[in-house]
């Protein structure tokens, strides 16, 4: 099944088809590699992109625009439960991903009544104290890293925060004690845990549920980027085809 075929029709990601291709490129890159340039353990997005770039060698713009569904599908897959994804072959809709991220960073919202763009605003404000723009990407990543929300990258630069916030052990004495034990394994992480979250999962004493739950190291930056893309898209005149 091609990546595009795994795309779930999702009205909250539909605007990506009209988005600025350079923003799509930022989003695709954020899914393929982290901000330090280390490749993520991505599904097929990289190969889909390489193929598209070779098919549309005359226009990078066309190459990115023509794979917007594959980019959206990759986000949906990251947002889903890995094991459940294996069975259903598709991810989850963006609304669920956004709500998961919001819960993860403890944003207050009402599932039924908080609109998507409003919730995205709250996520950005919670993380960066204001609604940011795509021009501020380096600072955004620095903040996410400092907050321990970038998975492996955070783990190497600020292990305690990453373990506490990223894996969700904060406030629990037993878990915190367990977390101390985790640090023993951290010295080998930079060598082993380059690309594959399976490696980190093997190193950390995680439950099966922790391993298969949404990949926040990817979905948190992706949600931030999508939120900023949506602001930009909405502030432009709506692109009517006719």
């Amino acid at each position: 099944m091609s990546l595009e075929a795994k795309f779930r029709e999702d009205k909250n990601l539909a605007f990506l088809q009209d988005a600025d291709w350079q923003d799509l490129k930022i989003l695709a890159n954020a899914l393929i590699q982290d901000h330090s340039g280390t490749e993520q353990w991505t599904g097929e997005l990289k190969s889909t992109l390489v193929e598209s770039l070779s098919m549309h060698s005359e226009s990078e713009e066309l190459a990115y625009k023509s794979i917007w569904k594959a980019i959206a599908a990759e986000i949906q897959l990251y947002g889903g439960d890995t094991l459940v994804n294996l069975a259903r072959r598709k991810g989850v809709e963006y609304e669920e991903i956004l709500q998961d991220v919001a819960k993860k960073i403890k944003v207050d919202f009402h599932k039924e009544t908080t609109a998507i763009d409003e919730l995205e605003d709250r996520v950005l404000r919670k993380l960066f104290k204001r609604v940011t723009t795509l021009d501020e990407l380096p600072q955004i990543y620095r903040t996410l890293e400092r907050e321990g929300l970038l998975g492996l990258t955070s783990l190497t630069s600020d292990p305690w925060n990453t373990v506490k916030k990223g894996v969700g052990l904060g406030g629990n004495a037993t878990a915190a004690a367990g977390a101390s034990a985790i640090f023993a394994g951290l010295r080998i992480l930079p060598q082993l845990a380059k690309v594959n979250p399976l490696v980190s999962a093997a190193t950390l004493p995680l439950t099966l549920k922790d391993f298969s739950s949404p990949a926040y190291r990817v979905t948190i930056p992706a949600v931030c980027i999508i939120a900023m893309m949506r602001r930009k898209h909405d502030s432009n005149l709506y692109k009517d085809e006719f």
Binding site: E9, D10, K11, A14, Q17, D18, Y238, D240, E241, F242
Partner: protein, 308 residues
Amino acid sequence: MEYQAFTFDESKFSSILKKAIENQEVVFRDGVAYWKKGLEKTGIIQHIPLKPVDMVSKDTFVNTLGSLQSSLQNTMVAVQAISTGTLLVATIIQTQILSKKIDAVRNAVIQVSQIAHEQNILFYTDKVSEYLSVVQNLQLILRSKEDGRAIEQLGNATLANSMQLKNQISFFILNLLSLVQNKEIKDDQHLGLILKFIQQIMEILPLGMHLEHILSHRLGQYQFSQNLIEDSAKKYAVLLDNYRGYLNFTNNKIKNFEIKAEDVPYFMQIKQPALDLISNRLHVELLEKPAKEALSIGYSEQPVLVNW
């Protein structure tokens, strides 16, 4: 299939005309170059001979005219700043392009008449049939090389008919669009036929309107022909705004996954022709530009000969 189109024979342009073109002081209308309104000079600069060029027709009427427009622009290196509307119309008047289009619209009218049972719709489809005949008559009169005075009576009668029917059709199309937008046409097949009919009318109306304007001009009604094209441009803009409103509304719903494309086959059938209609901007060449290009001509002046 190849058609013969017409372009200006630049080799026969006078030096005054060339200079006026450079300074963007010219309006071409009905084969004659006039000084634009508001300049010191007024009246006719030169009667312009046309020369035939070959053009390849496309699958559809709108695409044929679109490709004609771009090929004419390429042949007129020196006069790129000038509207191609006048050449488009020269070609339309001289060739069978319009007759074929009228046949296609007539088919759409018949199909709508067969499914419609409401008396008011049937009344208006009759009016559309009449209008198609009037457009053919406009073409016929304009093709004639008779002096304006010789065709005056026939021309004025045709013009009056055309103006009346055009207004009725504009009103009818607005009503149909309102029915479509308010989902008052329940049957998908009927909806498909109605939309096809609207699309066909939207394609032919700018031509009918422009021919009407040219006939009025040829009859010596210089100021009135200008008022006529300004009014037609406004009427068509209202229709097009409404049509685009419906098209964008439906298309955006499909794009946002609120409805599935396969559930609106009637829309998918007209999507490409509607995109062609808007992207080719024929209405701009045939209505908007001439509406803004007032020419300077005194009531005593009259072009002596139309050289089509």
